[in-house]
């Protein structure tokens, strides 16, 4: 029996297919077991651990390519496992264990829990499929297929407020179609769709369009600007479990996976080129603009949603440098961000579960009642703010290093992002967990988060520390073999000056926070002086009105174009409904007038008719 199982497990193809199909089947079973929470929890643990086992077995295998002998014209159902894909698979699987456990506990007693788990598991199958796909068309199949489950999860329990779902589908649909265009151009110019057969296409001609479109599609999945605006909207409308799983984790993994693939393998992407600079600009803008929005939020979920966007900027900036240190930093930051951002969203979900709100104005001093949650929050905050010793510090320093090597302006942008990140977490942390206790009226006595939710977030907090001081594990043991980058970037940052500058930025943030708290009377309003600063005030006003939301621009452009089309259509309708009938009627009347008994008129008609027939025959 054991021998049979181990033999089966050693067949990579079996595992590969199971990782796509089994999650969907488990999803159906979980949906059917929606009335038994115990059974659901058991199945979630079993299935996610099984998925992890498969992923780790694949991780230990040599590279291989596998074709399913079914062909849809233009598509080859080809998959491959290499060191890079298998690392991402294993990381996704590990995160999925914690996310799914948290989800099943968080959604207990919700009428839609079964359906949500179905969507979640189908999504896992799709993500696994995208990570294992070799053919770009098949990658797109799984990638874009996530739109369906994304739409379902955003609508779940929230059909009366479909704005987030509509926005997400429109923006992600646009990004996925751009990805389709990029993939098709690349496939046609490379002469193959298999990534294993495409190497270092030069960035010229159609390749540039292909590269840009694929890159935008990849980064949009991660929530990069300008494809980001559905995420804060989702923070208002969607279940928090969704934020934990998707903007917090899975979408970042997928987006960075593809972006790295194209930058390091498919195309010749070199440091200092126009493409590299454009990517760094995009990354820096995403860091600064998103964190600036996070800074002024008074709702925990929305604040974290903007941070989820901003943190992606560091990854884009790092990878966009095209330097080994930047690529390593970007990938390491992706891992770290997924760990602490999922943890932070988990905390938001737990607080919402206990108090019924994530509105920071209604919540204060929760630290004493929820000490473990508060401790986890502290660890995640130190990590995201880049406090020395925690994982975020090490990955940010690598990105800073690469940014400075590229141009000081990118480094300043990244530092500005770090400054505002620290500010917003100081604001949120102090007002949420410190000070006099306050919860909304009617809230039952507050207790610590349930074990089922506390365990995943505690494990994540532990990983923040392991990946920090023990960064040899992620950098040298995991990422270096996966990326093929030989240089070691583990250990303490090599530039003491950069570390000192980073610490100085954190100190500045603390001083600014204390100043703001004193000026406006509470930690929650500590960033209000920035919100109301001259010039910035008008920009913030415009943003809050949605004037700078690219989604609104898209809708306005569509509306304007539609108005023009409607006018064109009216013109055509006029021809059909008015002009032609009138002309026919007048011609009829004219002919009628000719039929007045006069021989000459009949002669004209006969000659005219014969000429028409002659013309016809001449044409033939």
């Amino acid at each position: 029996m054991f021998h049979a199982v181990s033999e089966w497990l050693s067949g990579g193809v079996n595992l590969l297919l199971c990782m796509v199909v089994l999650p969907a089947l488990f999803g159906v079973v979980l949906w059917m077991c929606k009335k038994s929470h115990f059974l659901q929890t058991l199945l979630v643990l079993l299935s996610s651990l099984l998925n992890t086992l498969f992923a780790f077995v694949l991780y230990g295998m040599d590279d291989f390519v596998f074709n399913i002998p079914l062909t849809t014209f233009g598509f080859a159902y080809s998959f491959r496992i290499d060191a890079f894909a298998s690392l991402f698979l294993a990381f996704t699987a590990g995160m999925f264990v914690l996310i799914s456990l948290y989800t099943v506990v968080n959604l207990k007693k919700q009428s839609y829990n079964g359906l949500y788990l179905l969507y979640l598991y189908i999504s896992l199958g799709m993500i696994n499929g995208a990570l294992m796909a070799d053919h770009l068309g098949i990658l797109l199949f799984f990638w874009e297929g996530l739109l369906c489950t994304l739409f379902g999860m955003l609508l779940i329990g929230n059909r009366d407020h479909p704005k987030a779902a509509m926005k997400a589908l429109t923006i992600s649909g646009l990004a996925d179609l751009l990805l389709m265009l990029g993939i098709l151009l690349t496939v046609l110019s490379a002469g193959t769709g298999n990534m294993s057969e495409i190497h270092a296409l030069s960035l010229s001609g159609n390749h540039i369009v292909g590269f840009v479109c694929i890159l935008l599609g990849a980064l949009a999945k991660g929530g990069c600007m300008p494809f980001h605006s559905w995420i804060p909207q989702a923070a208002e409308d969607a279940p928090t479990a969704f934020l934990v799983g998707f903007p917090g984790a899975m979408e970042k993994i997928l987006g960075i996976y593809l972006a790295t693939r194209i930058v390091t393998e498919l195309f010749v992407f070199e440091h200092g080129t126009a493409m590299s600079i454009a990517m760094m600009i995009l990354g820096t803008l995403t860091i600064v603009l998103a964190v600036a929005m996070a800074l002024i939020q008074k709702d925990m979920k929305k604040l974290l949603a903007y941070h989820a966007i901003s943190q992606l900027g560091y990854m884009v900036l790092g990878i966009g440098t095209g330097l080994p240190v930047g690529i390593m930093g970007g990938l390491f930051h992706m891992m770290n961000n997924v760990i602490y951002k999922s943890g932070l969203f988990m905390i938001a979900g737990s607080i919402e579960k206990q108090t019924g709100t994530t509105d920071l104005k209604q919540l204060k001093g929760l630290g004493k009642k929820m000490p473990v949650t508060a401790a986890c929050f502290l660890v995640f905050t130190f990590s995201i703010a880049g406090f020395p010793g925690f994982n975020g510090f090490f990955s940010k320093e690598l990105v800073f290093d690469a940014a400075l090597e590229s141009h000081v302006i990118f480094y300043i942008g990244a530092l500005l992002g770090a400054f505002m990140t620290a500010l917003s977490f100081l604001k949120m942390g102090r007002s949420l967990f410190f000070g006099a206790y306050q919860v909304p009226e009617g809230t039952p006595p507050l207790r610590e988060t349930k074990a089922g939710m506390l365990i995943p977030m505690s494990i994540l907090a532990v990983f923040c520390m392991i990946f920090g001081l023990g960064n040899t594990l992620p950098l040298d043991t995991l990422l270096a073999p996966a990326t093929g980058i030989q240089a070691s970037f583990s250990g303490w940052p090599h530039s003491v000056l950069l570390v000192v500058i980073s610490l100085f930025v954190l100190l500045l943030a603390l001083l600014d926070h204390l100043y703001g708290s004193k000026k406006d009377g509470s930690p929650l309003h500590a960033a209000d002086h920035i919100r109301h600063a001259p010039v910035l005030k008008h920009i913030y006003d415009a943003v809050e009105k949605g004037w700078l939301d690219p989604y609104h621009w898209l809708m306005a452009a569509m509306g304007g174009f539609s108005d023009v089309c409607v006018q064109v259509e009216k013109g055509i309708g006029f021809v059909y409904d008015k002009a032609v009938p009138r002309t026919v009627k007048r011609a009829g009347l004219a002919l009628q007038r000719l039929s007045d008994g006069r021989l000459s008129h009949y002669l004209y008609l006969a000659v005219g008719g014969m000429l028409c027939i002659a013309l016809l025959f001449w044409l033939l």
Binding site: L147, R159, P162, L188, G559, C565, L620
Partner: protein, 473 residues
């Protein structure tokens, strides 16, 4: 097996249709079921012909006429593909009609016209002769005229006349083109004209017929107006049969038979691009549920035409798969619209909202079909859209490829708007209490929704057949 299976596939619905009014006088249910079985019989005949296609010996039959003329039918990959698609969707539409039409007068004529329509479609797809194609083409126009004017009100008759006049005028111009070809080749038999280069003016003439039938800009205006017909009729016209005749004829004549001037390889896709974008733009501003779906049809037909006209195998296969995916999904959308209209007695989406609560199955079916039309995987529309755009890019026309990507984004936007306005959000003020459609109607739309999904999962099967059509290029 021989060519008689094709004759059976044509005559069963054509002649059977004439029996339906008599059966209707005996027993209404008997008439309904017979109508359904007639179309199923046509589907079965097409399925039998499929064996011939896969064994590389397509069934065919030919009849000699006096004066050296002849006519014949052939079940090749294209005709069987079209016949299977049209009869499958038509059968579901007839099933749906059992619930939708039961309270209306003139049902005898309705079922007769529907079967006649499907029979004409079968005749058209199997025909190997230009005059036979034209004859069946016009029979379909007559059926279309009666069906659009089904309610007999002034406005519906006016719209029916408009559809009839536009499509018949287009067909007459096309006939002139056919005559021109006859003048050059001395035959109407397609097999005798394989690879013959035909003059540009005949192509233009025939294109008039094709574009008017397939409602392509600027000859499309009759199609949204045809929404005054009962929903099964609009579904039949806009999704399954009528509009597909034009794109079928394009494939049969300009892709598989004649050699046409290379400039049409860029002119027709350009017309298609204009049609796709303008109709998508108009769809976004419509408030009549059926008009939104109708303009969507015009836009999606342009995608099909694009695939068929980009003169490479990828585009052709994509175009054919698009015909299948669009027929199934758009058929479902129109039928869902019919359920909603039936329940609310309005087509104005501003008076709708929140229907997903009261009509959950219809909402799910609508969403499934809409996802397919949007081209989202794993639905069948994804593969079709991917291949069509790959086809145009493969013909080195990146600009048109980008324009069609814009069209695809617009498709998502107007269909999302429609779904949200009708099925999500709070119910409209003064909206009457509604309930789900009759079981047979709901099952019909669910079949089409699930078929859109399932076809995506098994796309390698229809793809094999479409590849056999494309293989001749």
């Amino acid at each position: 097996m021989n060519g008689w299976i094709l004759i059976l596939g044509i005559l069963v619905p054509l002649l059977g249709a004439c029996l339906l009014p008599l059966l209707g006088k005996i027993h209404e249910k008997l008439r309904d079921i017979t109508a359904f079985l007639l179309i199923v019989a046509a589907f079965v005949c097409a399925a039998f012909a499929l064996f011939g296609v896969f064994s590389k010996t397509p069934v065919s039959i030919r009849f000699a006429l006096p004066l050296g003329l002849s006519f014949g039918f052939k079940g090749d990959a294209l005709s069987v593909f079209m016949a299977l698609t049209a009869t499958f969707v038509s059968a579901i539409i007839v099933l749906y009609s059992f619930g939708y039409m039961k309270h209306y007068k003139n049902q005898n004529e309705y079922y007769m016209m529907v079967c006649l329509f499907v029979g004409a479609m079968m005749g058209l797809v199997y025909s190997t002769n230009l005059i036979a194609i034209y004859t069946f083409w016009e029979i379909s126009s007559l059926c279309c005229w009666r069906l659009i004017g089904f309610y007999r009100e002034d406005i519906t008759v006016q719209k029916a006349n408009k559809a009839f006049l536009v499509t018949v005028l287009g067909a007459l111009i096309m006939l002139v083109g056919f005559m021109g070809i006859y003048g050059q080749t001395g035959t109407f038999e397609l097999s005798a004209m394989q690879g013959v280069h035909i003059p540009a003016w005949t192509v233009v003439m025939i294109l008039f017929g094709i574009l008017s039938k397939s409602a392509t800009f600027p000859l499309h205006n009759w199609l949204p107006d045809a929404g005054v017909a009962p929903s099964p009729v609009t579904s039949l016209l806009h999704a399954a049969v009528l509009v597909k005749i034009g794109v079928f004829a394009y494939t049969r004549l300009f892709v598989l038979t004649f050699d046409i001037h290379a400039s049409f390889g860029s002119a027709v896709p350009t017309i298609a691009a204009v049609s796709a974008l303008i109709s998508a733009g108009v769809a976004f501003r419509q408030n009549d549920i059926k008009r939104v779906v109708a303009y969507s049809t015009i836009s999606q037909l342009a995608f099909i035409l694009l695939g068929l006209s980009c003169q490479n195998e990828i585009g052709l296969v994509g175009g054919l798969l698009y015909i299948l995916a669009h027929s199934v999904a758009k058929g479902g959308l129109f039928l869902c619209a019919g359920i909603v209209e039936h329940a609310l007695h309005t087509k104005d989406i501003r008076k709708m909202g929140g229907l997903a609560k009261t009509m959950p199955v219809t909402a799910i079916a609508f969403m499934l079909c809409a996802f397919s039309v949007m081209g989202i995987p794993p639905f069948s529309g994804f593969f079709a859209k991917y291949l069509v755009i790959e086809g145009i890019l493969a013909s080195d026309n990146v600009v048109l490829g980008i324009l069609f990507i814009v069209g695809a984004v617009m498709t998502i936007m107007y269909l999302m708007r429609l779904f949200v306005k009708v099925f999500l959000g709070p119910p409209a003020e003064d909206a009457p209490p509604v309930k789900e459609g009759t079981p047979v109607m709901v099952i019909s739309v669910l079949i089409l929704g699930l078929a859109s999904l399932l076809l995506g999962m098994i796309m390698f099967l229809p793809s094999q057949l479409a590849t056999m059509v494309g293989g001749v290029l």
